[in-house]
Symmetry: C2
Subunit: 151 residues, 2 copies
Amino acid sequence: MVTFNSIGVVHNDVNKMSTGNYAQAESRIEINADLAPGLQGLAEFSHVVVVFHLDRIPPFDKEKQLLRNPRGMEHLAPVGVFAQRTKFRPNPIGVTPVRLVSIQGNTLIVAGLDAMDGTPVLDVKPYIPEFDRVDNVKMPDWVVTMVQGYF
Amino acid sequence: MVTFNSIGVVHNDVNKMSTGNYAQAESRIEINADLAPGLQGLAEFSHVVVVFHLDRIPPFDKEKQLLRNPRGMEHLAPVGVFAQRTKFRPNPIGVTPVRLVSIQGNTLIVAGLDAMDGTPVLDVKPYIPEFDRVDNVKMPDWVVTMVQGYF
């Protein structure tokens, strides 16, 4: 068991759970004032990885959510939660690389964050392709179909 | 403040903190037996994102760790923690995409995980390029130099 305190909070216009189309959404991430010196040098990066707590998600329901059909894929066999990007996970942690538009004081302006207004942020890391980018990825056909309708 | 329980644990030969060269390291991630059905369908993916708790890292020392020189870059101006991938962070959360070699029962065999033996795992997500991969990334020169020596 581990406890984390948020390092900041998301501000945007997203007030209900959505199922996609975050690619263009702009959010502000307000970093706690006492941690703001930790942003020094971040503006030199074009992208950051945001780690956040999906705090509006109800407690994980093992019976219903450990195995389920991906959204809109009711004709397939159920898929395990760890083979999906569903928000309904044993630990509701989001990890999303976003474009860093600008930094204003202790606030990051980012594009493409799939988080609601008020979401607690746990970490911000610079996106470094040598660590974060994978080429030659294989995934099942249902994911290929799903992501076509996502953006 | 949020509390998470681990969903599994890392097993490997890494028993001291390292500063790189994880690219080839093979690890086993043993998922808690009660959550093992959540692995259904994961074997169809070539890569997964592992979210883990860097549990051997001492509490964050704001005085010393909020702003510091990147490793081996003592000639530069200090850089903020959020502009670095250092392990010494306000919330010691690791996020690493790894190659999924195979799944044996409730154990994932993965290559490239930068975590020590015994590390608690918080989440496993399938790596999906449309969500996780960023092209045309810009980053400062010191990072370019650093990653050259990393692998």
